[in-house]
């Protein structure tokens, strides 16, 4: 296992470099002079030149590339044009909110989706199964901002169990949890719907496998056939879907963050877009590059834990 982990870590390095290069290319591909774009048509030549220098775009392209990669790797992601604070500091300030929300949504999704999907598969084509399939489809197609507002109306405004504005302090664990609950449920519903559907179909496939027949032929009780022999195999595709969805989730949480007035990476991006904060956007793309590589790494390591064929392959 250790060897597998080390191997995955080493393989993550070229992936990271590739994604960072892609970010660099994407940013340079945008037509026009970034300084001009930021300052507008009326800007003086001196101001433009000063900004170009600050952005580093006056240097030869290769030097820019080397600076960019070096900077990205050591956490030197530039400064916000708007606040003047380093991108790293801005990201660091909101990252706990995003991590809390993402982890909570995935946990909720797994805790609800895996048992529900399994249950549904075991009662294939019975009322339970149809109900689960319809509900999970609803969960997927329901817009996040509508469900968010409904949650707010019911549990924050009407019942007053949770705060309307979830931007509270992080150092009080109770408050942190109270702030997290509604947004996490809002995102968790979607996650749970995904996981339910994938678990159901992959469980159905596994239940038809020859090795399940072998387990039954051995006299393994139903409960162990399901939990020990089937579920672990059925989880392999679930991990793939959760991994893929994780990337989307981090970006898509912006609606939830806005509805619940909660800081996070999504809101940071929208803010930077609105304010044409060019360096902030570039920095955030770097952050996403790291996140994508990290998610891939976690997905691969999870495969390693579930499926022995991956480790030895």
């Amino acid at each position: 296992m250790i060897r597998y982990i080390v191997k995955r870590l080493v393989f993550a390095i070229p992936t990271l470099l590739a994604v960072l290069t892609l970010v660099f290319v994407l940013v340079r591909i945008v037509p026009g002079d970034p300084a001009q774009t930021i300052l507008g048509d009326q800007a003086s030549q001196e101001a433009l030149q000063a900004l170009r220098q600050r952005l580093g775009v006056d240097k030869p392209i290769f030097d820019q590339y080397v600076d960019f990669i070096k900077g990205a790797l050591v956490g030197n992601w530039g400064e916000s044009l708007v606040t003047g604070r380093p991108v790293l500091a801005e990201v660091w300030a909101v990252l706990p909110y995003t991590v809390d929300l993402t982890v909570a949504a995935i946990l909720l999704g797994a805790l609800i989706g895996i048992p529900l999907g399994t249950w549904s598969a075991l009662h294939r084509n019975e009322a339970i199964d149809y109900a689960t399939r319809v509900i999970s489809l609803l969960g997927l197609s329901f817009p996040a901002f509508v469900s968010g507002i409904l949650l707010l109306l019911a549990f924050a405004i009407e019942l007053r169990w949770f705060p309307v504005i979830s931007a509270g302090k992080l150092d009080d664990p109770v408050e942190r949890l109270r702030n997290l609950t509604l947004p996490a449920i809002n995102l968790g519903i979607i996650m749970a719907a995904y996981v339910t559907r994938v678990t159901r179909s992959s469980m159905l496939e596994v239940l038809g496998e020859d090795y399940i027949r072998t387990a039954r032929a051995k006299g393994v009780p139903d409960r162990a056939v399901i939990w020990r022999h089937s579920l672990r195999n059925a989880l392999i595709p679930v991990v793939t879907v959760v991994g893929l969805y994780l990337g989307i989730l981090i970006g898509n949480s912006v609606l939830t963050e806005i509805v619940f007035n909660r800081p996070g990476l999504g809101k940071l991006i929208v803010g930077a877009l609105n304010q044409r904060d060019y360096t902030m956007l570039q920095g955030l793309m770097v952050v996403y590059a790291f996140l994508i590589v990290a998610v891939n790494l976690i997905t691969d390591l999870t495969y390693g834990f579930i499926d022995p064929r991956v480790k030895h392959g």
């Binding site: 072998t214 387990a215 032929a217 051995k218 499926d307 022995p308 064929r309």
Partner: protein
């Protein structure tokens, strides 16, 4: 309906009587196994032979209580074993017999082991459930079994996963699993078909050896009559879900009566080529939804007569029965 054929005077270990297993095909139930009866004597090997799709596996799965639900179910018959009728046993009672008193080995060694569990664990599991052994004790017994089925350096490979084993080695592991609780009856469903010819011979020899050592009875399913000659005491030939002929192995090879058996014997693969399909008999087995009303083999039969439009009974002297109007009349061989 139920017609049992007592060949051995002693009490049979397993007695299948009038077994009919049906599948639902587009709304209607059709028999994939129809009125199958046979007895299995102590330490006897009965070969069940026939073309692909004739119901061999379904017969074995019916005995195991593993007919795929909800598409299929046993619709008639009794399966008598150790004083009870397996067809009417409840789930839990049947589970306690499976892998314990009656075991089954399958055709596909590559897919029949769980890819995420170690080989050692999968062997030990049967012992944990049926013998209530603890972890260490079950592991020790499982290791012993892996050595008995001749897995090289079994101790070192105990914690390996199935994908680290070859097909032949995996089938040995399957045998170890099946034999873990020293069953009375072993159902071997084409256990060597998927293996190379040389490995096939090794696995067959191992099965024969262990059957003797354990004093088991065995139902050996195959469509390879060459294998039958090597391993079986008695042969039941199946066609389109029915048993069409039963006789001792020598008797059957020397004096086949059913025209289908004759054709089968003519298509025996020679040792120098590996034939897994019997291509020499013209026509196809009818599908279970389109069975002829009379003799099921009639459409392909060279001896077909007018009376074959009525279903023939399984008839003849006890040591050699045949389901054929043309061949059963006066058909004794002294």
């Amino acid at each position: 309906m139920a017609t049992a054929f007592k060949v051995e005077p002693a009490e049979p270990v397993l007695s299948v009587q009038g077994l009919t297993t049906s599948f639902r095909v587009s709304g209607d139930w059709h028999a994939a196994v129809r009125d199958v009866s046979f007895d299995l004597a102590h330490n006897e090997t009965l070969a069940l032979v026939g073309e692909s799709g004739c119901g061999k596996s379904m017969t074995a799965l019916s005995i195991m209580g593993l007919v795929p639900k909800p598409a299929g179910r046993i619709t008639a018959g009794r399966i008598m074993f150790e004083g009870s009728d397996l067809v009417s046993l409840d789930r839990e009672a049947m589970r306690r017999i499976r892998g314990n008193r009656i075991s089954m080995i399958f055709q596909e060694p590559m897919t029949s082991l769980n890819p995420v569990l170690t080989v050692g664990f999968q062997v030990a599991e049967a012992l944990r459930y049926h013998r209530a052994m603890g972890g260490a004790e079950a592991d020790r017994a499982a290791l012993d079994l892996l050595e008995q089925v001749k897995i090289p350096s079994a101790a070192r490979r105990f914690k390996d996963y199935p994908h680290q084993f070859s097909g032949g080695m995996r089938q040995r592991v399957m045998i170890a699993i099946a034999l873990a609780c020293r069953p009375q009856v072993l159902l071997a469903d084409e256990p060597t078909t998927a293996l190379d010819v040389t490995i096939q011979a090794e696995v067959l020899a191992l099965l024969a050896e262990l059957k003797q050592a354990y004093g088991m009875s065995m139902v050996f399913i195959t469509h390879n009559l060459g294998v039958v000659a090597a391993i079986a005491d008695r042969v039941a030939v199946m066609y389109a879900g029915e048993i069409v002929e039963v006789a001792a192995v020598r008797e059957l090879f020397r004096r086949p009566r059913h025209p289908y058996t004759e054709l089968l014997l003519r298509s025996i693969p020679r040792v120098d080529r590996h034939v897994s399909h019997l291509e020499t008999i013209e026509g196809q087995v009818p599908s279970i939804a389109a069975m002829p009303a009379g003799c099921r083999f009639a459409p392909r039969c060279p001896l077909r007569e007018a009376r074959c439009d009525a279903p023939p009974p399984l008839a003849g002297a006890a040591h050699h029965v045949v389901r054929c109007w043309v061949r059963s009349e006066g058909g004794g061989h002294g």
